[in-house]
């Protein structure tokens, strides 16, 4: 860590997560290396089975126990007080104290994360009291301010609403208000707009963007939606079958993807459909589905550029300035 390169807020290095299941031990995450700097949004993108949500659970210390555990690598988080803590090694209670104080999170379905029998004001006030040591009256006033902050109209009245009285978009705003109550350094957003309509999604994305700017948070934004990635991300890490296969700043990633999976994934978008010889517009698709490989590149079974050497050993992450790629052939096919 040199002075010119400030330490990242969150640095995940070669993370491996294992689960014990009926069929033996599986490792849904086996090679995740990524970093989030203060004030930037890193989008972690992948399809189902890519391990992106497991990665976020590992960071938050929320892996289902005792089946799941971090079995390798490190998750370094820079404390506000100075110094770094390895979340992969830290005790459950240490991680719990950080969660909600310096690391906050929002999920896809806000209804299940809110307590149905408390008003949203009470829930925010409780969090504020816990983290800031405010009294009852101050905490309620703060709750109202938080609802204002997340642009809930008529906040003075809505603080007394119960979660079920709100729409999905409003509940997600409440979740964001709750997350912001402790002024976190890192926000982990796991598919926060997936359950929302597009016009509401646009509002929530803009809100997260505004808060990131104003509060200087780092955001780890987990999504499967490439359109959302292009909208929110400064940098992007693409996951496939438990590994980060490519990461780069958002423009180079979309304009000049290097890993065969990233390239193919972008070509699958309906908006990029090409007109075929018969005049019909056809989308490129990737044959087959995600499958587990014993060794070699996880994408090899579906890759058009595959050759024998792709199927043996571990494929190393190759670094370029501003980009890493996990592929043996990316230079020849570029």
């Amino acid at each position: 860590m040199t002075a010119t390169h400030p330490e990242p807020l969150l640095a995940i290095n070669n993370l491996e997560v294992s689960f014990r299941t009926e069929e033996g031990t599986v490792t849904p995450v086996r090679g995740v290396t990524l970093s989030v700097n203060a004030g930037e949004t890193l989008a972690l993108v992948g399809e189902s089975g890519s391990g992106k949500s497991v990665t976020s659970l590992a960071v938050m210390g929320l892996l289902p126990r005792p089946a799941g555990r971090i079995s390798g690598g490190s998750i370094l988080f820079r404390r506000r007080a100075g110094g770094a803590i390895d979340l992969a090694q830290a005790s459950a209670s240490e991680v719990r104290r950080l969660r909600g104080a310096e690391i906050a999170m929002i999920f896809q379905e806000p209804m299940t994360s809110l307590n149905p029998v408390l008003t949203v004001g009470e829930q925010i006030a409780e969090s504020v009291r816990l983290h800031r040591g405010l009294g009852q009256g101050d905490a309620m006033r703060r709750a109202r301010e938080m609802l204002d902050l997340v642009e809930i109209p008529d906040a003075g009245r809505r603080v007394h609403d119960y979660p079920h009285q709100m729409s999905g978009g409003m509940r997600q705003r409440v979740m964001i208000a709750l997350a912001m109550a402790c002024d976190p350094a890192l926000l982990i957003a796991d598919e926060p707009t997936t359950a929302l309509d597009v016009t509401i999604q646009a509002q929530i994305l803009a809100l997260i963007e505004r808060l990131r700017r104003e509060m200087g948070m780092g955001v780890l934004f987990i999504t499967h939606n490439l359109g959302v990635v292009a909208e929110v991300a400064d940098r992007v890490a693409v996951m496939y079958a438990g590994e980060v296969v490519e990461s780069a700043p958002v423009r180079p990633l979309f304009h000049a993807p290097r890993h065969p999976y990233t390239r193919a994934l972008l070509d699958c978008l309906p908006a990029r459909a090409a007109r075929g010889a018969d005049g019909r517009r056809v989308v490129r698709s990737i044959p087959g589905t995600v499958s587990r490989v014993a060794e070699g590149c996880g994408f090899a079974p579906r890759c058009e550029f595959v050759r024998d050497s792709c199927r043996v050993g571990a494929i190393p992450l190759e670094s370029e300035p501003d980009r890493v790629v996990r592929c043996l052939r990316w230079r020849e096919i570029a």
Binding site: E47, D197, V198, I200, A202, A206, C268, L269, A271
Partner: protein, 322 residues
């Protein structure tokens, strides 16, 4: 429009009685020609899925007419519906829940044949054919749904719909539960099948990119009403209705250089139990004026093959951007 395969007029569906029924579909009209694909786009509460179910009479309409190949469906007695179900089929959104987990694929597809007495004596052969048509090995017909991936299950659902050799398929969000790479496979398959069998489709989706790719014409719905309807490329390239514009502006583009999403729409979608008077979109419309609350704007012909429901003759060049 004579010769239309499907003609819907004034279709209306209210759920629940009392003073405030849920007004899911209000006075919707459109037609689908043989072999044509019409897209229904809208957000939650737009009534797009309800329309699909009304057309197949999985729900009974409150009012309006649905004519399929000249026969009135909306009021047909239950026993006459079997003929409809040979001609119009449905593909469902959820590839997990739409297949009975306790039946083998053979029986899931075979049930469609049995219900209409098709392929007697060569049932297994026909099931194998259907599976190969949708790109699945015929040998897998003895497996259970849980042994297939999401994309493969959606193929099974499509094979089931094709079993009766329908003329129309209502596809209700057929790819929205699938990953992008798998979604592309299924979209291409549906395009192939459409060309091969000359299928007409009602393609229901919330994803404008998908609808634009798949459809000849698009109907944009909001709170149970048609806001705009017309040729796909015209509606998406030059939207005329403020809601269509807003929907396009709010859809994230997979291009980091595209202009950031403009927040043209404030507020929430109103409840379909208490829709706004006049134009249902006026509470969120950037151009709304007092007159919009007075009358429900009728669909007006724009002259380029499209119709839209807005009282403004022309829109200011750019809505105020927040």
């Amino acid at each position: 429009m004579s010769g239309a395969l499907l003609e819907v007029r004034g279709l209306t569906k209210h759920f629940g009685g009392g003073a405030h029924p849920v007004r899911a579909v209000e006075d919707v009209s459109f037609a689908i020609q043989p072999g044509e694909v019409l897209g229904l786009v809208g957000e939650s509460g737009s009534g797009k899925s309800t329309i699909g179910r009304l057309i197949l009479r999985l729900l009974d309409p409150t009012a309006g007419s649905v004519r399929f190949g000249g026969d009135e469906i909306a009021t047909a007695p239950e026993r006459k519906l079997k003929a409809l179900r040979r001609r119009a089929q449905m593909v469902f959104q959820d590839p997990f829940a739409s297949l009975n987990p306790r039946l083998r694929v053979r029986d899931i597809i075979g049930e469609a044949l049995d219900a209409h007495g098709l392929a007697r004596g060569r049932r297994t052969e026909r099931i194998g054919e259907l599976m190969e048509t949708v790109g699945l090995p015929a040998a897998h017909m003895t497996r259970y749904p849980h042994e297939f991936s999401g994309g493969q299950r959606q193929r099974i659902g499509i094979a089931r719909a094709l079993a009766v050799e329908p003329e129309l398929i209502v596809a209700d969000e057929p790819v929205s539960a699938l990953d992008v790479s798998v979604q592309a496979q299924v979209l291409n398959l549906m395009q192939d099948l459409r060309a091969r069998f000359g299928l007409a489709m009602l393609f229901i989706s919330h994803d404008l990119d998908v609808v634009e790719l798949m459809c000849d014409r698009i109907a944009v719905l909001y709170l149970g009403r048609v806001m705009e309807i017309g040729p796909a490329e015209i509606v998406t390239a030059r939207p005329r209705h403020p809601y269509t514009q807003a929907l396009l502006a709010a859809s994230p583009k997979a291009d980091p250089d595209a202009p950031k999403l403009s927040r043209t729409l404030k507020g929430d979608i109103p409840s379909p139990m208490a829709p706004p008077s006049g134009c249902v979109f006026r509470t969120r419309c950037p151009y709304a004026m007092p007159a919009c609350a007075e009358v429900v704007p009728p669909l007006r012909d724009a002259g380029d093959g499209r119709a839209y429901a807005c009282i403004l003759d022309s829109l200011p060049s750019r809505p105020e951007v927040a």
